[in-house]
Symmetry: C2
Subunit: 123 residues, 2 copies
């Protein structure tokens, strides 16, 4: 198996703690924003890239590759018939919704001036 497709194993993980293992995958400033965009129906690289946080394209490429590797997203043909891929959440990816909702709830309650502004379609 090519190195780029390898997944964490007991040997590379920091511990068997499920929180630590989850953080090894989604514990950064950007990954859950891409998951958020996918939950809201965005499917294309350009859509994620257009989100207000301004994810750098090299970071986005790396995160999408990681999400594919962990089978959190899958690739599908783009609706517009171009050869570019679109992305969608797998069952494993959909299962991150409670985590995203907990993060949203906490932010709304405890960080002033936050607003859940995202809509279900790209602008």
């Amino acid at each position: 198996m090519a190195k780029t497709t390898s997944k964490p194993s007991a040997a590379t993980r920091r511990s068997p703690c499920p929180v630590a293992c989850s953080l090894d995958i989604v514990g950064d400033r950007w990954t859950l924003l891409v998951i958020r965009d996918l939950v809201f129906g965005r499917t294309r690289f350009k859509d994620f890239s257009a989100s207000p946080e301004g994810i750098p394209t090299n970071v986005l490429s790396e995160r999408l590759a990681r999400l594919l590797r962990h089978q959190i997203v899958g690739q599908i043909p783009a609706h517009d018939g171009t050869k570019r891929s679109a992305y969608q959440l797998t069952e494993k990816g959909q299962a991150l919704r409670p985590l995203l909702e907990a993060m949203c709830d906490w932010g709304l309650k405890w960080e002033p001036d936050t607003q859940a502004l995202m809509t279900s379609e790209p602008e």
Copy 2:
């Protein structure tokens, strides 16, 4: 106000999205592991440092300072009467429990060979 005690404002935030604002505080590989340790009753720098993931002490210092700055943890006198501080979760910090539980649940379900091994007392 000293620069080190400043909090994110509308000017420094990536967006008003509550997920993005939460990730600006806890979106890294280590912070939620410190929160986990606090939930399990660990209170001292040396306890967090002894957790199996092996957080580097400079990273731990920086994360505790950030958590204090965001009023997610507070400092209390250590039980052993030394001058060193102990830490405890504030109400805002306790409110991160659902997020931690969602992360734990997802890891247990979707990442193989994870185990919720932590106990409520330091070893």
